[in-house]
């Protein structure tokens, strides 16, 4: 029962990752990230109930409140203020990116069998999905031009690392989790301000313009 929930949510996270690669509306991408964080929360709850590890409930709550509600709300506000709604043409077109992500997922899944815990069963899928999403997040960060999408890619990577940590370890100590969560929140706040500064100066969110000389 809990294993099914775990696998469903993990696969759901992978699907949100794919949809993020496949479309360009910033609001939808932010919503997808929110959904992804909710699924991560569900995974934490499923592990907490399945393996009887009550401290994971705190993790789940933190994940849902911070990453599922607060960060998406803040990012939506930033996008709303700036008034730029769509990703411009990325460095690679969508079908090509999807093909590459397909390869990355296969690599992630294959590598996950190398973990001593990940050889089979539920943890194999959790670690596989985690590694795949890590690679997809990195790929998104490299190929997208908008600063907000890059923040979302960074957050996806963070979710992926969190998922792998949940799959391999029996959950990190609470202090570490609190530290990471607030780090993420602060990073998003700072990046949000940075995005607005970039937009003020260049009248665009295109980070590739940062490499041009400005007289």
């Amino acid at each position: 029962m809990f294993n099914n929930l775990l696998i469903l949510s993990a696969a759901g996270m992978l699907v949100t990752g794919y949809l993020m690669v496949g479309q360009k509306a910033l609001f939808t991408a932010i919503r997808l990230y929110g959904a992804q964080s909710w699924l991560l929360g569900v995974i934490a709850v499923a592990i907490a109930l399945g393996d009887d590890r009550p401290h994971l409930f705190v993790t789940a709550t933190l994940t849902v409140v911070l990453k599922g509600l607060l960060i998406p709300w803040f990012l939506m506000r930033v996008v709303d203020r700036i008034g730029i709604r769509r990703e411009i043409e990325p460095f690679l077109n969508v079908p090509a990116s999807l093909l590459i992500c397909l390869g990355l997922t296969v690599v992630g899944y294959r590598v996950s069998t190398g973990f001593p815990e990940g050889a089979q069963g539920v943890t194999h899928h959790v670690i596989g999905v985690g590694l795949s999403m890590l690679l997809i997040g990195l790929f998104l960060m490299v190929t997208r031009k908008k600063a907000v999408t890059q923040i979302l890619a960074l957050l996806t990577v963070e979710n992926a690392v969190f998922l792998i940590a949940l799959g391999i370890t029996s959950g990190m100590p609470l202090v570490v989790e609190l530290g990471i969560s607030f780090d993420v929140l602060l990073a998003v706040l700072v990046l949000g301000i940075l995005v607005r500064r970039i937009v003020d100066r260049f009248e665009s969110m295109d980070v590739s313009r940062l490499s041009q000389l400005k007289g």
Binding site: A11, L19, G22, Q23, L98
Partner: protein, 315 residues
Amino acid sequence: MIEHALAPIGLAALQAAAMLALAPLLRGLIKKMKAALQMRQGPPLLQVYYDLAKLLRKEAVRSATSSWLYIAGPRMYFATAVVATTLVPVWIAAAPLEAAGGVLAFVGILALGRFFLATAALDTGSPFGGMGASREMTIAALAEPALMLGLFTAALSAGSLNLGALVRGLLDRGVAFHPSDVLALAGLFIVVIAETGRVPVDNPATHLELTMIHEAMVLEYAGADLALVEWASALKELLYLTLLADLFAPIGIATSASPVLLLQSALIWAAKMFVLALAVTLVESTNAKLRLFRVPDLMAVSLGLGFLALAIRFL
């Protein structure tokens, strides 16, 4: 011996008739729920039936320059949709005509209907028909492989390409999810949206010349011809949703023909259809229609998800 051969045909006719009778209700339900989300009252639940009845009574106006293809188009489209219905298990874990063909026959028969409708649209020589046909085929060419990949993923876990045996295999397997199921479901859902002409891909409610796809293809038709096309489209929609329910939530489908089990199975089926219709409505209400040139990207996502589902099966 003859009775032995006739029984499946009778069952097939029964199932096809029931599905045909229920198909417009699904359309009406989706319209009603969509209206409710927009704080409108919307047309009555049975409006689609009234429309069909009205169209069936009207004379079919046909262009003088059109050939037999124009007349064959809607009829073949309707016939293939009905035949495809008999290949899918609906209320009982066996398709009436499952001896006749499996997954590939299902996809092929629906493609045949689409081929005839597209050629018929080209037949009158109207620019709208040609434009609609070319768009429809562009999307279908991308949706079909994605549909096949999704079906193959389910077939792999059940060990059969025959839809009846497939559902029985899934029932035997019980509730043990594999991540590939979720990926295949997501991929297939996008295919269903595209094939039924729902919002991110096409808008069934407008006749705006630049955006319409399916509607442009059937723009020339009137009267009974149009009724056949509309009815077949509604049937296909119900059929695709049933297929999704069969492949990813076969629980509750009757395993023997006892009346109690059948009734229970029909009720559970209705509940599944309602949930899926709700999902379609939500997608339709929360998304804007994609630009035509964006649609291949969406289909690439669904194709990618299908490939991935198959790949993960083997890892």
